[in-house]
């Protein structure tokens, strides 16, 4: 016992004391906000109705089966008419496989957070609810052209300036 005559404890206490004079690294969330990653796989899927051809690749690639798509059987203007496009965000695991799979770049993951709902039923989004809007921005996941326009991600690496060697 006391192999180091208590010097180990003193060393440890010097570390905690040093930290007393460093700036904290936490962020006070509602007031201070960080930029999420440009590729963030954030809440809610965003669907581009014009580009969608109704091929159903997204539904096939979804491991959870949360995308429900029903289309017409006839091809009009090189597209199927999408009669039903419904995503249950309650089942979605935000893996991004549908976004990667879509051959026509018609699906995006959302850039937004704070999209919580009070009722589970409200998580089922159908056609209109899936379109892009001001609070539903698309993220740059698997879409480098979208990512280029988003603000740079805030990193803790850049914030932590309190270190003194």
């Amino acid at each position: 016992m006391f192999e180091h005559y208590g010097i180990g404890i003193v060393k440890g206490m010097s570390v905690t004391l040093r930290n007393l004079f460093r700036r904290p690294v936490t962020t006070q969330y509602p007031e201070q906000r960080l930029n999420p990653s440009r590729r963030t796989r954030g809440n809610e899927l965003i669907w581009n109705q014009e580009r969608c051809t109704g091929c159903g690749t997204c539904a096939k690639s979804c491991p959870q089966g949360s995308i429900d798509i029903v289309t017409s059987t006839k091809i009009e203007e090189n597209k199927y008419r999408v009669e039903k496009f419904e995503v249950d965000m309650g089942y979605c695991i935000f893996c991004g496989l549908c976004v990667e799979a879509c051959p026509y770049n018609a699906i995006f993951l959302g850039y937004a957070y704070e999209r919580a709902r009070y009722r589970r039923g409200e998580l089922v989004l159908a056609k209109e609810g899936l379109l892009e809007s001001a609070e539903r921005k698309p993220s740059g996941y698997a879409h480098p052209e979208v990512a280029a326009e988003l603000p740079a991600q805030s990193l803790l690496l850049d914030k932590d300036r309190g270190r003194r060697s």
Binding site: G12, S37, S61
Partner: protein, 375 residues
């Protein structure tokens, strides 16, 4: 003269059973230890699993080979990248798919960053179990956060990365990744030194962890322990060196081992492994080639009928995937060789005779992730 044990010389009392867990601050969520105590001394301990069993092996049989990658995220959620890597390696072995050079390097970078992040949690939680009230784990979570930021930058998620794909990785790393990683590599050794100052020589920690929960070399091999638990018992067995997968044969690194196989050695091995991971990261970042990150792989992979086992050195030990294919788009059998489940085999032997406080310590030093134990 025969020495009497404490049990014999104290008053005869009745042992009593305590269920430690599933809702206990130190049982990592959902693990139950049915302990029989004599006062503070543990007479017997029986582990009870299954509170987090989600049937992932069965679920995977209904998903495509590509669609199983998000499932593997949910095995060991503290080391998702390693799980991804082990799984895609198994599918690539099964289907005979080649991977571009750049993707191999990116995979190694991710796996090593993940090892550091996971060991930070492991060491922090272990020290927290020792009773160092929150300080070490908060310091370590701070550094882990920086790694998570890097992962977030690359794949857009902080916990369930779903980054590796059969035949490569999902996307190339963004251009701001390399400078950020360089900065991280530059400052991380300083932080590790600070953790060492904080508790490495602390007398109380030495008294608590040295010689406690010894897993001998023979026992460690016999129970198929792997990862830091095996190496702390003095066995130099690292799959990155013994059976190099991906491109690990190109990097220089040491395999830290312990001598006694006690809790303190397991803690030391993890800290040293973080340093070695930093070395590998530096080499990988230096040699990172250009080019494609994903080879042309059909959307629905149909590997030929057969079976493959591929294992990697995950932060918690040998993580392997045994896949059987019947030629369809979904695995016929998907078995996970979960390192932490097997590492727990000798838990009872390591704990018997120690006190309640040591139980938590020994359990913490094995570093398990219940999501992987139960699957």
């Amino acid at each position: 003269m025969t020495t009497k044990t404490t049990r014999e010389i104290t008053l005869p009392t009745e042992p009593f059973a305590v269920n430690i867990g599933p809702a206990h601050p130190s049982t990592h969520g959902v693990f139950r230890m049915l302990t029989t105590l004599d006062g503070e001394v543990i007479l017997n301990m029986e582990p009870i699993f299954g509170y987090l069993h989600r049937g992932i092996e069965k679920l995977a049989e209904e998903r495509t080979y590509g669609g199983c990658v998000p499932l593997t995220d949910r095995l060991d959620y503290l080391a998702s990248m390693s799980n991804n890597l082990a799984y895609v390696l198994a599918v690539e072995k099964l289907a005979g798919i080649a991977v571009p050079e750049r993707a191999e390097y990116i995979r190694v970078i991710m796996a090593e960053l993940q090892r550091i992040a996971s060991h930070l949690i492991a060491v922090g939680a272990f020290l927290n179990d020792c009773g160092a009230f929150m300080t070490p784990i908060l310091y370590m979570l701070r550094e882990r956060e920086k790694i998570l930021d890097l992962f977030d930058m690359v794949c857009g998620q902080r916990l369930t990365y779903n980054y590796m794909r059969v035949g490569g990785v999902s996307q190339d790393i963004p251009e701001e990744f390399a400078p950020a990683l360089k900065k991280f590599l530059k400052e991380m050794p300083g932080w590790i030194n600070e953790y060492e100052w904080l508790l490495k020589e602390n007398e109380i920690l030495l008294a608590r962890a040295k010689g406690v929960g010894i897993l001998t070399r023979e026992m460690a091999i016999n129970i198929s322990a792997s990862g830091p638990v095996l190496r702390a018992s003095g066995v130099e067995w690292d799959i990155r060196r013994a059976d190099p997968y991906s491109i690990y044969d190109r990097f220089e690194f040491d395999i830290p081992t312990g001598k006694a196989g006690d809790c303190y050695d397991r803690y030391r091995v993890r800290v040293e492994e973080m340093r070695q991971s930093l070395r590998i990261l530096e080499q990988a970042l230096k040699d990172l080639p250009g080019g494609e990150v994903r080879s042309e792989v059909p959307h629905l992979i149909r590997p030929p009928a057969g079976e493959a086992y591929s294992h990697i050195e995950a932060p918690r030990g040998e993580l392997g995937f045994y896949l059987v294919s019947d030629g369809s788009i979904a695995p016929y059998r998907f078995h996970v060789r979960a390192p932490t489940l097997i590492n727990l085999t000798a838990l009872n032997d390591m704990m018997r005779g120690w006190k309640v406080a040591d139980l938590i310590l020994i359990f913490g030093s094995i570093d398990i992730c219940l999501a992987e134990v139960d699957r």
